[in-house]
């Protein structure tokens, strides 16, 4: 008879603390004008909604000031903007200046409202275009290939066959724990924790580049993602191999190679977290060795509760993963 018990490769301590309070879960506020479901708007109401967004996001004197008269940033009134250009700038920001990309804080409808309002500040030059049909292009063109906002492609490790581990926890079908994407996000980026994931990894275009970009893990099975967290040594991508640099002075530094040029090699020293990038003159380096261990700490199974691990997996999958999904 088939057993209803399943194996879980989790430290028993993780189970012991799984009912501890969860990490802070952000509630969604839905306060911003225009953040509700899109509905047809007249030009006037579009501009009025944009004006309110402008007040909260753009009207500081350090930025464009009230009425777009210009402050620390350029003036926006009496200008000749096209809606497409404004949409692009608001959406993607202007790298190298304080103008942020609003794509993460405003939706397309809100950006269209903001564009309508800004165009209305130039009645002779741009207002004619500030109509309710000034919807942004669904895929705005980019000013610069670096602005596309696409996550940099990273080679992912060839997954090794998941290792079946003897059961140390029995879970039956009536028992389940479900991870939470937002709790996982909070854990991944928790600034109060110097050993959080983001000090080394990027996810959703934020975080460090010491280890692999985890954005592309969304397509992987939950079990494989969990294995990468609790047993990182089982699949080490060559690009992120652990190396030791021994200097001619006899000092040893261990971590992940950052980059090198003709004269210098840089290493992310992972002996302490957050990692410290160290630059060595090649002439000062006596020896470089590759190790077969992962630079990632191996104790996350005991550091995090099972619920927290599921939260992290859920965040990386962008969907709430349950304990049962691991099998």
């Amino acid at each position: 008879m088939e057993s209803r018990s399943r194996s879980v490769k989790i430290d028993a301590r993780a189970i012991a603390v799984m009912f501890l309070p969860f990490a802070l879960c952000l509630s969604s506020f839905d306060l911003l004008p225009g953040s509700r479901a899109a509905q047809p708007q007249s030009a006037e109401s579009q501009i009025e909604a944009g004006k309110r967004i402008y007040l909260g996001s753009c009207s500081m004197t350090y930025c464009h000031a009230a009425g777009g008269i210009g402050g620390g940033g350029p003036k926006l009134r009496d200008r000749e903007f096209t809606p497409e250009y404004l949409t692009l700038l608001i959406t993607q920001g202007v790298p190298g200046t304080p103008m942020p990309a609003f794509k993460e804080s405003l939706n397309k409808q809100q950006i269209a409202q903001l564009v309508a309002y800004i165009l209305s500040l130039s009645p002779k030059k741009g207002a004619a275009k500030a109509k309710s049909d000034t919807q942004p292009q669904s895929q705005p063109q980019t000013l610069d290939p670096h602005l596309s906002g696409a996550a940099p492609k990273t080679e992912t490790a060839t997954p090794s066959a998941p290792e079946r581990v003897k059961s140390d926890v029995a879970v039956n079908d009536s028992f389940d724990i479900r991870g939470d994407v937002e709790a996982g996000r909070a854990l991944f980026f928790d600034s109060a924790e110097t050993r959080n994931c983001r000090v080394c990894h990027t996810a959703q275009n934020r975080g460090g580049s010491v280890g692999p970009d985890l954005t592309e893990l969304a397509g992987k099975p939950p079990r494989e993602i969990l294995q990468g967290i609790v047993a990182p040594h089982m699949a080490i991508e060559e690009r992120y191999a652990t190396i030791t640099i021994t200097t001619r002075a006899g000092e040893k530094f261990t971590g992940v190679k950052r980059d090198e040029n003709e004269t210098t090699i840089r290493l992310y020293d992972t002996s302490t977290l957050p990692p410290v990038s160290r630059a060595f003159l090649k002439s000062d380096v006596a020896k470089t060795e590759r190790l077969n261990t992962s630079a990632m700490p191996a104790d996350y199974a005991s550091k995090y509760s099972l619920k927290q691990l599921l939260d992290l997996v859920s965040f990386l999958k962008s969907s709430n993963v349950s304990l049962k999904d691991l099998f």
């Binding site: 500081m60 190298g96 003159l281």
Partner: protein, 581 residues
């Protein structure tokens, strides 16, 4: 024989020990170099140098040299200039000078070492910034030099150490991903013993402010002090559960240090969202506060909050001037601190107890006064969805342009801005790392009069005003006090100038051709005193000038990022000595 063998063994041990020591020393050649902590903490003994951000660890911005003085300052002329090559961000920084070498932080993460007598470039280092929008501004206010290394923070929130002799990168550590926190570093670090202490921005973003300490040798993170207490910590109750992780309270300027008390003082900025306060009922500790920390551990020793539950964007992030005040035989160890809200507080810096508070601007509407503990009373409400007229403005009764203190005269010199604003609070969705102004403001002149600005000399305890000099528009640049009885600064229209420290009378000016928002310094090389003044208004604050003084709009100088260095003609100083050196 055993004795001989033992002796030989001991000899080998000694040789091994010596070899080990030699290896360790050779491994740390740069770290062991100058300036040492002993020199840094006694920098007043070396007026030929300007070795830390505030001129000394008490933020006096005073240089004792007196070769340039009230009698001869009219002869002051430019002797060299240095262009950083990057106009975005102007030049907001404080140069550092150590033993004839000047270290200059330019905008967009550019670092230079220059011959301080000639301006000759010795090396340069450009920290490559990723493609990103820059929170706050592309300029920087400076760097720190110690132990043969140059330390600075970057616009993408890293702390970097360079070899001071070559500019070679030694270590680089990320504080937090700028895309995650909406925060970065635009000010100089402060070296305290073996640590590099670095503040950051973030008061206009959904971010939990902090101060970080790194090991100066290795870059290892040593401690972090959150300026918003977490659950279970005292002060957490002054925030809502919703906002404590996103309440701002940044540490965006540079602190001070008292070696006798072993206390590190740091000013903390405003809570976010700046104007909309529904989500943060309570005093919102330690926003708008002075915090005193043990620099070895990062533990809080005391705090003093100047503006509880700020609704006006009144940072308390500015410098903490440590002044030993003596009057009628009574000595007081004061911390004198100008707030953005136009008030100056004098505290007992050993205990954090309130001593006095007084206005340094003429028009204040946000409070009616302070109680016996210095807590504001009659604070003006800023209700949501209404317009509220508040003085001073969110740009401040002054901003980061630093004060100066002349210990010989005993007066404290500070800038004042008479600008008000209309605040319009607005609810905003809270997303970590995203802007969180919570409304907007519109600059206005004070009631019934045009906007104006001034520089004042004050008694630092009583606030008694000794003199006032009216500035052109607002003075964004810092002040410099010198042993020659002078106050140096520069205005937004391009005039570098010197005032008589005792009367406020303007004694000298020179049109540099570029507005100023940096911090002048003084130093000497081979017996010649120099005044170095950064030019190029990269600060967002310079945008206030055409709004409030439209008559100046067409005269505002073009963008620049140039250090202009002045000295007396060599013929006039031949045979003269630089006193105080």
């Amino acid at each position: 024989m055993w004795r001989r063998i033992a002796a030989g063994h001991r000899l080998r041990l000694r040789l091994n020990t010596l070899l080990s020591i030699a290896l360790i020393v050779s491994a740390l050649p740069a770290y062991a170099q100058e300036p040492s902590w002993e020199r840094l903490i006694n920098s007043d003994r070396e007026p030929q140098n300007w070795m830390s951000y505030g001129g000394n660890y008490a933020a006096h911005r005073f240089n004792a040299l007196d070769q340039i003085n009230r009698e001869n300052v009219k002869q002051l002329a430019p002797v060299w200039m240095f262009h950083t090559g990057e106009l975005r961000g102007g030049l907001n920084s404080t140069p550092i000078v150590v033993d004839g070498v000047m270290y200059l932080m330019g905008p967009m993460n550019r670092v230079f070492a220059l011959n301080a007598a000639t301006g000759e470039k010795l090396w340069s280092y450009v920290y490559k910034l990723p493609q990103m929008s820059i929170p706050y501004q592309p300029g920087s206010r400076g760097l720190a030099v110690a132990y043969g290394r140059v330390y600075f923070g970057t616009l993408d929130n890293h702390v970097v150490a360079l070899d001071a002799k070559t500019g070679r990168e030694i270590w680089d550590v990320e504080v937090e991903d700028v895309r995650q926190c909406g925060c970065n570093i635009t000010s100089a670090p402060l070296i305290v013993k073996d640590k590099v202490i670095v503040g950051g921005t973030g008061g206009e973003h959904a971010h939990r402010g902090y101060l970080n300490a790194y090991d100066a040798k290795t870059g290892k993170h040593v401690w972090r002090f959150y300026t918003i207490p977490g659950p279970g910590e005292p002060g957490y109750e002054t925030w809502s559960e919703k906002m404590w992780k996103y309440g701002g309270a940044p540490t965006w300027l540079v602190g001070s240090y008292d070696p006798e008390l072993n206390l590190l003082y740091w000013g903390v900025g405003n809570p976010s969202s700046d104007f909309y306060d529904e989500f943060r009922p309570g005093d919102n500790l330690y926003s708008d506060s002075i915090i005193a920390l043990d620099p070895d551990t990062g533990k809080l020793k005391w705090y003093y909050q100047e503006v509880p539950h700020d609704m006006y964007d009144f940072d308390s992030a500015f410098e903490c001037a440590l002044i030993d005040y003596e009057k009628d035989g009574r000595k007081q160890k004061l911390l004198v601190h100008a707030n953005k809200g136009g008030m100056t507080w004098a505290l007992d810096r050993a205990t954090g107890k309130y001593v006095n508070a007084w206005p340094h601007v003429d028009t204040l509407t946000w409070l009616k006064g302070v109680d016996k503990n210095g807590r504001p009373v009659g604070m003006q409400p800023v209700p949501p969805d209404k317009e509220t007229f508040v003085c001073p403005s969110a740009a401040g009764g002054r901003n980061y342009g630093h004060s100066a203190y002349n210990p010989r005269i005993g007066w404290w010199y500070n800038v004042g801005w008479e600008i008000c604003n209309v605040i319009r609070p607005q609810k905003l969705e809270i997303k970590e790392g995203q802007p969180l102004f919570g409304g907007g403001m519109e600059m206005k002149p004070p009631p019934d009069k045009p906007a104006y600005g001034h520089i004042n000399a004050f008694d630092p305890l009583t606030g008694e005003r000794k003199w006032r000099y009216n500035t052109t528009g607002i003075n964004v640049a810092s002040l410099l006090a010198t042993g020659g009885g002078l106050i140096f600064s520069g205005d937004v229209m391009g005039d570098a100038f010197a005032l008589d420290a005792r009367t406020g009378q303007k004694l000298w000016s020179f049109n540099t051709g570029a507005g100023m928002s940096g911090s002048p310094i003084s130093y000497s090389v081979n017996g010649r005193q120099y005044i170095a003044i950064p030019t190029g208004t990269g600060s967002l604050l310079s945008g206030l000038v055409p709004l409030l003084w439209p008559e100046l709009a067409h005269k505002i100088p073009e963008a620049a990022s140039t250090l202009v260095v002045f000295a007396l003609p060599e013929t006039s100083i031949k045979g003269a000595t630089v006193n105080g050196k």
